[in-house]
């Protein structure tokens, strides 16, 4: 059995057991999507449905984004709150989002049953589709692809043929610089060879790893593209961002796909989900409108820059915002700039230690204070 099949088998075993033992309310995982070998998120409620689950190079999504929805779901009449956790498959990057949730105390560790998966990288769908076009793979064959990894290569199986491509040619940019291919927090972990290891990993190990400087698969966070923008003159930078952000259609895909954008009342999102039947008229009448609904560049700039700042100390660079954006706006350049600043100014890295205090809610003696005169 290839290690892909072995991993899938283990994912299904773990989910089945957890559902049969009624240890979890339901399972969030990945299932084959509808085109080009991508996966789609799937919610499995019954042990009989676990065969839908799989995990592979098409498992792009950060499933942690569904947790807040679940937390906020109003109870039906007479429904008692179910205290059992949600089972959820997490890659290394996804886990960091959960670390932030714990830091911000909006979930309890027992709210989630984490099935960690060791990851070799995820396919960039846009790059894959371009490659399939280039290789003239027949259009019908492109619908049903099977993706698998062998060594350093990505194998694309389709009806009537296959492709073998160096994986790094078709990998998501964020995976190329990933340093957390092993999730740091989990209740069970499925290794890349398909072994199932029990036991919770505590993130204290992360602190050790950081102190030591490196872990086996760690790569230097590559900020070369950020530095390139930093080196631009102010005018060049303004022109760059005006050009990129003028494409924004304010669909809020970035905000919706970001696990850390969970605020019901968002400063830059005109829709206000905190209005309930009990909200006082006074509050609704006086609520300031910070940004208009139109997508004039001025409003859009405000949206993106403020949102980026609000990710300070929180953004884990799962990259979902940039992937979700239908207009190919390089959103990660904004958020990674903030990450770079947080590292340089405060030696802080989001998503590493749930016991840390949230970065922007902490003041230390050694924080830079040149602005204080």
């Amino acid at each position: 059995m290839s290690h892909h099949e072995e991993r899938n088998k283990k994912v299904r075993e773990v989910a089945k057991k957890a559902l049969e033992d009624k240890k979890v309310r339901y399972f969030i995982g990945y299932t084959p999507g509808t085109y080009c070998g991508r996966d789609q998120p799937v919610f499995v409620d019954k042990p009989g449905d676990v065969d839908r689950l799989q995990w592979g190079p098409g498992s792009t999504h950060n499933l942690a984004v569904y947790i807040m929805d679940d937390k906020r779901r109003p109870l039906k009449k007479g429904e008692q709150p179910d205290k059992r956790p949600i089972g959820i498959i997490v890659k290394g990057c996804d886990t960091m989002g959960l670390v932030e949730y714990l830091k911000e105390r909006i979930i309890d560790r027992n709210d989630v049953f984490l099935v960690g998966v060791e990851c070799d990288g995820i396919v960039d769908q846009a790059k894959l589709e371009a490659r399939l076009k280039k290789e003239k793979v027949p259009i019908k064959a492109r619908l049903d692809l099977k993706l698998s990894v062998e060594g350093d290569d990505l194998i694309v199986d389709y009806e009537g043929g296959n492709l073998k491509v160096p994986f790094k040619d078709l990998m998501l940019d964020k995976c190329m610089v990933c340093d957390r291919r092993e999730p740091i927090m989990h209740d069970v972990i499925i290794t890349r060879t398909g072994e199932l290891k029990e036991g919770r990993e505590e993130t204290a190990r992360v602190g050790e790893r950081r102190k030591k400087g490196r872990s086996k698969s760690r790569k230097e966070e590559d900020y070369a593209d950020i530095k390139a923008i930093e080196d631009m003159t102010l005018d060049e930078r303004a022109a760059y961002w005006d050009k990129e952000l003028s494409r924004c259609i304010r669909c809020y895909a970035c905000r919706s796909s970001c696990p850390l954008c969970y605020c019901e009342q968002c400063v830059v999102d005109p829709s206000n989900l905190s209005t309930k039947p009990t909200t006082a008229p006074e509050e609704k009448a006086r609520r300031p409108k910070w940004v208009e609904r139109n997508n004039d560049l001025s409003e859009t700039l405000f949206f993106h820059l403020v949102r980026a700042l609000h990710t300070a100390g929180r953004c884990i660079d799962c990259g979902e915002c940039e992937r979700a954006c239908p207009m190919d706006i390089p959103l990660r350049k904004l958020t990674r700039k903030i990450r770079k600043d947080m590292k340089e100014l405060f030696d802080q890295e989001a998503g590493s230690d749930p016991n840390e205090k949230p970065a922007m809610a902490t003041a230390r003696e050694e924080d830079p204070q040149e602005f204080v005169r």
Partner: protein, 373 residues
């Protein structure tokens, strides 16, 4: 460059196309042409494009050219309350409120190489924005827009126009349809405005059999739809009927679970037309703007009282499907979908409206089976 008498059909060599378009531009028309920028196709003014950048070979543009007749933001009116004045006797005369309509003013605009699905979408918007309550802003633009269609030679991966009453050689909404054949583009003027556009020496008489050759091109594209090859054609009338009884089906709950509630699908859709109206400015001076909105946003139907008729995602995605495939056909006789597939390609969580149609088709088959004695 005018001919003695208008042509109904013609042939234009591929090399002559840009010259023809530049001549139209010289007459004072705005000509929008498909060009590739950063790997994405979009419609740009010919005046800013080099001859060799005008595309004749592409599947479809990234965004539909819907914005030409229905822009994302549109100023409806300006308001201003004049300052209070003191008259000769020292009495304060209250400044009067002035409200001024802002009329969209547009040059005659030719959208060149619009695909039949997107043109059909404009024809659908024509119906939506007319009726007993004509929308003057839409029509001020629409009256000035001419659509020169380019029949599809090759569908994109997620195209399904033939499942919603369309065709790669469809003529609805177009002033001219161009189809690639041996020797150039076979041109058919479908309206008097189209006939006027074709009054150019660039168009020769077509050879015998040109129209049949064009049919061959259309047919070749019709059999190349990957989705249809895989799942068969969907019959839209049957869809509307089947949907009637499936309103409360748990299918909508299950399908909605992975939706993250962004607006990517609606904002990339050529037929979506919902909008919001907001005042921008102070109580004394400002403007009233309408901007694109979507039933997928959580606050779309939310009352100020806090009551929301569609509080959960399942209600909202059900509304999207029902509105496009049942309410619109029942109400105004047209489907709200042209099968361009952009919503499928752009959804970050792989929501797939064609899959929904296939599932509805399966329900219909089930119901028929059950109905047999």
């Amino acid at each position: 460059m005018t001919q003695d008498r208008p042509m109904k059909e013609g042939l234009i060599k591929k090399g002559e196309v840009v010259r023809w378009l530049r001549a139209l531009a010289k007459e004072g028309k705005e000509v929008l042409v498909p060009v590739e920028t950063d790997g994405k196709v979009g419609y740009e003014p010919l005046s800013s494009v080099k001859d060799d950048k005008v595309l004749l070979d592409f599947t479809n543009s990234h965004r539909p050219p819907k914005g030409v007749v229905f822009p994302q933001n549109e100023v409806l009116l300006l308001y201003e309350t004049e300052k209070d004045k003191k008259d000769a006797a020292g009495k304060i005369k209250k400044g009067s409120l002035k409200v001024r309509e802002v009329r969209p003013e547009m040059k005659e605009t030719v959208i060149f190489a619009i695909r039949p699905c997107d043109a059909r979408a404009v024809a659908i918007l024509d119906i939506v924005f007319s009726g007993t309550n004509m929308d003057p802003y839409y029509w001020a633009r629409r009256e000035k827009v001419l659509l020169v269609g380019l029949a599809c030679a090759e569908p994109d991966l997620n195209c399904f126009c033939t499942s919603v009453g369309g065709s790669p050689g469809g003529k609805e909404g177009l002033d001219i349809l161009l189809t690639g054949i041996d020797g150039g583009l076979y041109a058919e003027a479908l309206t008097t405005k189209g006939v006027d556009l074709m009054a150019s020496k660039a168009f020769e008489a077509p050879g015998a059999g040109a129209s049949e050759e064009a049919e061959v091109t259309h047919k070749a594209a019709i059999v190349a739809f990957a989705r249809v090859l895989k799942d068969g054609v969907v019959e839209p009338k049957a869809v509307a009927e089947t949907l009637t009884g499936k309103y409360e089906d748990p299918y909508w709950d299950e399908t909605a679970r992975r939706c993250i509630g962004c607006g990517a699908c609606a904002f990339l859709c050529p037929t979506c037309h919902c909008f919001d109206i907001n005042d921008e400015g102070t109580k004394r001076k400002g403007r009233r703007v309408r901007s694109w909105d979507t039933c997928q946003f959580p606050d779309f139907t939310q009352h100020t009282s806090g009551h929301n008729p569609r509080p959960l995602k399942k209600f909202r995605i059900r509304q999207r499907v029902y509105h496009k495939f049942k309410y619109m056909p029942d109400n105004i006789g047209v489907l709200g979908c042209v099968g361009c597939g952009r919503c499928i390609s752009m959804c970050p969580m792989n929501m797939d409206i064609f899959k929904v149609l296939v599932d509805v088709k399966a329900w219909e088959a089930q119901a028929k089976k059950g109905a047999k004695p």
